[in-house]
């Protein structure tokens, strides 16, 4: 069953086309990685899927329903959860309250209904000891974990992760990969943008390459990584 389908989606800012006729599908339960150089339009593609931006052309279907013109808030309620590339915690709220907002509003439940769920997520993402600390005081790793936790608190069917491993040490990165693997193992569909390639390839089943807003390739991670297009994009072209 198809979880998410993009058909000929385009988005421009003035003269600059940042998403150019993108089409692809993500089956339910799959983890898809998205790679591409800086400025390739990866985050824009995410914003189009989550509804933080609206597509100029094309359509986006989620679980068979056309969500092209649905707001970010409603898409969250239908089961699309996201993390932001630059962590965007609610700084004055505590870690627990950050999750509470997501859990109560993202699922329309009362605080007491979701208390144990939130605590459970915080245990899994190893933030439980920091539950009562204001999010503004967290370290980078903790902020990344909070991004992940908050997205999880909406109980998404589709989880979008935007460069969640960037800027972490190798050990921190491994711990985070483990957490993401566990979430994936529970059947959550994942789309993950990442520059830390070994983190990405250790989780995803399929890889999509984006350049100039266009889908250059999509398929088996090993094949994609050894393709000439990716070699050129990542290691440069010979003059």
């Amino acid at each position: 069953m198809t979880m998410l389908a993009l058909q000929n989606v385009s988005k421009s800012f003035g003269a600059l086309t940042v998403t150019d006729d993108a089409s692809f599908e993500v089956p339910k339960g799959q983890a898809l990685g998205i790679i591409g150089p800086n400025g390739a339009g990866k985050s824009t593609l995410f914003n189009l899927i989550t509804g933080n931006l609206r597509a100029d052309k094309g359509s986006i279907h989620f679980e068979g329903r056309d969500v092209t013109h649905v707001s970010a808030m409603e898409r969250c309620l239908t089961g699309i959860g996201r993390s932001f590339q630059i962590p965007q915690p609610f700084e004055k709220l505590t870690v627990y309250e950050n999750l509470l907002v997501a859990a109560t509003h993202g699922r329309n439940l009362s605080e007491s209904d979701v208390r144990d769920d939130c605590a459970d997520i915080l245990e899994r993402t190893e933030l439980i000891k920091r539950a009562n600390v204001a999010a503004g005081q967290l370290s980078l790793l903790e902020r990344k974990r909070l991004e992940l936790s908050r997205a999880m608190a909406t109980q998404p069917k589709l989880l979008l992760l935007d460069e969640i491993a960037g800027g972490l040490t190798e050990g921190e990165c491994q711990a985070l990969i483990q957490t993401i693997k566990e979430i994936h193992a529970q059947g959550v569909t994942i789309i993950w943008i990442e520059h830390v390639l070994h983190a990405l390839t250790s989780v995803v089943e399929r890889l999509l390459v984006l350049d100039f807003g266009q889908v250059i390739g999509i398929g088996d991670p090993d094949e994609i990584m050894s393709s000439r297009a990716v070699q050129e994009i990542y290691l440069g072209i010979d003059v």
């Binding site: 989550t50 933080n52 707001s71 970010a72 808030m73 969250c76 309620l77 959860g81 996201r82 932001f84 965007q88 915690p89 609610f90 700084e91 004055k92 709220l93 505590t94 627990y96 309250e97 950050n98 509470l100 907002v101 997501a102 109560t104 509003h105 993202g106 699922r107 329309n108 009362s110 605080e111 208390r115 144990d116 939130c118 605590a119 915080l122 245990e123 439980i128 000891k129 539950a131 009562n132 908050r150 997205a151 608190a153 909406t154």
Partner: protein, 351 residues
């Protein structure tokens, strides 16, 4: 072990206890205080209500309005209209004042929400001016020169006779005491209501929208609806306060009831000086404001000049206001809204 959530702190338990004592003292005040004190307290309490609602709007909702005088004025005029035209008793007419403010808040929001940030601020001001000019056309209520509450309406007001007998005072003093008690109830309900709102999941959403609107939308918060809720709530409360203030004054004119200085500038200064975005801030602010007014009352415009300069200085030096400075140093919160998760794997951790 299961998790539980609490918002209480030791300070808040002490506050609750002291607050209960304070409330009893305040209710009992007319039994031992003079008429001047009662009038001062009425002024402090009504300004506190206006300040709490502006703070809800700007400090929590991010909606910086300079048009709160629209709701004070409309509320006041609705009360006068209800009393003069329909023969209502002034006391229940206060509810009419709130309702009228709520009614005009809908078109106001419809226009003002089309403007962002600073333009929203002046937009609300323009709309308040429109209401002032429209009300000035209302000839049965005195047009531009205004009118007074009919003598028999104020004389026969609910509870006045009761208070006269119980406290053995003249009817003018009894009306002041009645107004004071109503203001006290309004202030307590306002503070309690706002505190309650902030502790619900809507209050949490409000804080989330204030911290980061985009992220809030992405976790399912309806940011647009939060704006409406906050705007309408604060219009309703401001209208009630407006009705009450003019019930006590018993005389109204469009220029006074829609005064930007009296009903918005003062209120903004109170909140900024005390500390925006907290319940404690306006309480501190209104006390400082009253103190300054008493000290500088004889110096005319120097008083407002000082207030303006003080507000500028606070905004630049201590943008979280006096209460912000204090709570930053001491970690003190009299009205804690922060939920703390306890139990489970947190049992061993320090409180």
């Amino acid at each position: 072990m299961a998790y539980t959530v609490t918002t209480q702190t030791r300070a808040s338990r002490i506050t609750t206890a002291l607050g209960a004592v304070l409330i009893v003292v305040l209710f009992a005040l007319p039994f031992f205080a003079g008429r001047g004190t009662i009038q001062d307290m009425f002024f402090i309490l009504t300004m506190l209500v206006l300040a709490q609602f502006w703070n809800l709007l700007a400090g929590y909702g991010g909606l910086v309005s300079i048009g709160q005088q629209a709701f004070v004025g409309m509320g006041a005029y609705a009360l006068f209209g209800g009393v003069i035209l329909w023969g209502l008793d002034p006391v229940p007419a206060i509810l009419l004042a709130g309702a009228a403010a709520l009614v005009i808040a809908v078109p106001t929001a419809f226009f003002a929400f089309r403007l962002n940030g600073a333009y929203f601020a002046i937009g609300t001001w323009v709309i308040a001016e429109v209401f002032r000019l429209l009300v000035a056309q209302w000839k049965t209520l005195g047009g531009g020169t205004g009118t007074s509450l009919p003598r028999d309406a104020t004389r026969d007001m609910w509870f006045v006779e009761l208070i006269k007998e119980a406290l053995d005072v003249r009817s003018a003093a009894a009306r002041d005491i009645l107004a004071y008690w109503l203001a006290l109830v309004l202030a307590l309900v306002t503070i309690g209501g706002i505190y309650w709102l902030l502790r619900t999941r809507r209050g949490l959403a409000l804080a989330a929208v204030r911290d980061n609107t985009e992220a809030a939308k992405s976790v399912g918060v309806d940011a647009g609806r939060m704006k409406w809720i906050v705007f309408l709530t604060s219009a309703f409360g401001t209208g009630l306060a407006g009705g009450l203030i003019y019930m006590q004054k018993a005389r109204i004119s469009p220029d006074a009831a829609f005064s930007v200085t009296d009903w918005t500038a003062y209120v903004i200064f109170i909140v900024v000086i005390g500390g925006i975005g907290t319940i404690e801030g306006p309480i501190i602010g209104v006390l400082v404001f009253f103190l300054l007014q008493s000290l500088l009352a004889d110096f005319g415009s120097w008083y407002l000049l000082t207030l303006g300069v003080l507000a500028i200085a606070i905004m630049l030096v201590a943008p979280r206001g006096l209460w912000g400075l204090l709570s930053e140093r001491t970690g003190l919160h009299l009205f804690p809204i922060r939920r703390r998760l306890i139990g489970g794997r947190l049992t061993s951790s320090e409180e």
